[in-house]
């Protein structure tokens, strides 16, 4: 059994008086693919946003790649550079071309020479099959293309972990497949991934483990086959019956 790259212990988070996450305990091993599912408002997105501290947790501890997330800004920036994230709304930088979107962080955060960064970016764009769009601006691309660009942008930082926050939820049905394909390819390449999604087909295909969350708690965590074949809790059964 390999070393856990993400360790979350007794993590609690409140938005004001409302407790979003309750006693989360989770360990993710290197190269594992985890799918997080659950009804909306169950805290899935908040959980993965806590992992690169886009949200602050109030209690418990989160250790990513041996570094604990706390007030130390240097640590946070270092962890964020190692953890790529893809958002539901793509969040590409609209004032930069696709290529510049991808090279911005490598150049200024990783201090990579511009030429090298561009080569890397073109390689990643090639992988998600939008290399021919490199000179365009995000506004000129379709949703699916934008999301693939967002994946490429995150990969340009050569992260150790990739977080996906409902990457296909804002897409038209015919564009979902192209994004999922890119993610499947990435999974096969051995990336450590945590994916919040409603795409159960994707979960069955690539996930090592599936986590079911409800009301801020991890209700069930099981190997993928086990999770779909015989879910233990009633809440999971109900959810699966509705979604499948």
């Amino acid at each position: 059994m390999s070393e856990a790259i993400i360790k979350i212990a007794n993590m609690n988070k409140w938005f004001g008086d409302f407790q979003v996450l309750k006693d989360i305990n989770l360990e993710v091993e290197k190269n594992k693919k985890i799918v997080v599912c659950g009804p909306s408002g169950s805290g899935k997105s908040t959980l993965i946003r806590c992992i690169n501290r886009l949200e602050e947790h109030q209690k418990g501890s989160i250790v990513v790649d041996g570094t604990e997330l706390n007030e130390n800004t240097k640590n946070i920036e270092q962890i964020r550079a190692e953890v790529g994230m893809v958002f539901q709304q793509f969040n590409l930088f609209p004032h930069l071309s696709i290529l510049d979107n991808c090279t911005l962080a490598p150049i200024w955060v990783r201090k990579m020479p511009k030429v090298q960064a561009q080569e890397l970016a073109m390689k990643q764009l090639e992988k998600v099959q939008i290399a021919d769009q490199a000179q365009k601006f995000p506004g000129q691309l379709s949703g699916g293309q934008q999301q693939r660009c967002a994946i490429a942008r995150a990969l340009c930082m050569e992260p150790k972990i990739m977080l996906f926050d409902e990457p296909t939820s804002a897409l038209d049905p015919e564009m979902i497949k192209e994004v999922l394909d890119a993610m499947v390819n990435l999974a096969k390449g051995g990336m450590t991934m945590i994916v919040v999604t409603h795409e159960m087909g994707f979960a069955k295909e690539v996930a090592d483990e599936v986590i079911f969350m409800d009301e801020g708690m991890i209700v069930e965590k099981a190997e993928t086959k086990e999770f779909f074949a015989n879910p233990k809790s009633d809440r999971t059964k109900l959810f699966l019956s509705q979604i499948l």
Binding site: N52, L54, A81, V83, G84, F87, Q89, V109, F137
Partner: protein
Amino acid sequence: MSKFTFLKSDRSNIQTVLITGVFLITISILDVFLNSFFKFNLMSFLPDKISLVAPLLFGMIGMQLIRIEYSGNKYLDILNKNINNSKFNAALTLLIIFLIFKAIPPSLSWMILDANISGETKDACTGTGACWTYIKVWFRRFMYGMYPNEQHWRINTAFLLVIGLGTFGLFATEKMKKFLALYYVVIYPILAFLIIYYLISGGYFGLEWIETGAWGGLSLTFIVSFFCLIFCFPLGMILALGRRSNLPAVRYISIGYIEFWRGVPLITVLFMSSVMFPMFLPEDFFMDKLVRVIIAITLFEGAYCAEVIRGGLQSLPRGQYDAAKSLGMGYWKMHIFVILPQALKLVIPGICNTFLALVKDTPLIFVVGLAELAGMLALAKTNPKWLGFAMEGYIFAAIIFWIICYAMSKYSYNLEEKYKTER
């Protein structure tokens, strides 16, 4: 059937109504035209009161006649749709045309036909029109203030140098592009200051020292506006970021600063800077009045800039911050590369607004004894040899300010176009 059937226009009698309508409108406009340009009343055969409203009446009937829906004539349709789509709009259209015709002859004769520009003294102005001789004689004063005539080349050279340095960005190579922001925010203002200090103020390199009290006219307007513009923008940017900072001390200082300066009138700030401020300074510390005024206006306008820029920052979706953070960018990198470029692009119209207001506020420095363009006018109009030409002076100043402000707003439109990449 109504008895006004003949006024109901449609395509069947298009030829007739069109010719009649155009004829009536032509008559009505011609009448006003002749009346105002040649004092000739076409309808003098009518009683006085009727001949006064006759053009409008004829015009209205004509407009009514040519208001044909889907006439098939492209130009007529455009005309009808835009300026003749109801009785009210037809009347407005006619009145505006009449007004223009009425206004042209008097203004034309005052400004050009009956105006004087020859001669060197007030005696040259004999006509009823404007006395441009006044502007001609005072031109150098309006441009350069009390600056000695034989030294004007120094102001011209300094301005040319500053403008030349300002165009540096156009020639910058790919490699230098990185440093452009640094150049414009830090290096350029310092260079400009040094040029203006050594060249216009003088006192070194064999140049005669000329105190700032003698500076004036349009060149002073430019100097004050220029420095205030380039300093208040970065100041506003820092304050806007400060007001949104997570650090309470920074945030409250920014809020306090902005609310303080927005709460006091510019004119009191100027008085304070020139009268009160020196009292708080140590005896041996001297700061020139012009410098104090520039600092005062900069601090004042910086607060306005800050709020405009904050508006832009607030309009950006949170996702942009998230995305930048998730790529490992710190506060400054995130703002410099992701947030500010987008926010500043959004606030170009607002910033332009603030800058225009700033340029037009510069005449206020007259209250502390600095006579820029409008200030020189105020001095000139009270000169005993040239009494009674305030009108010419103010029109001259209005034209110059209009040119400056129009150029600025045009430039801001160009910037908007240039940076329009998406949406």
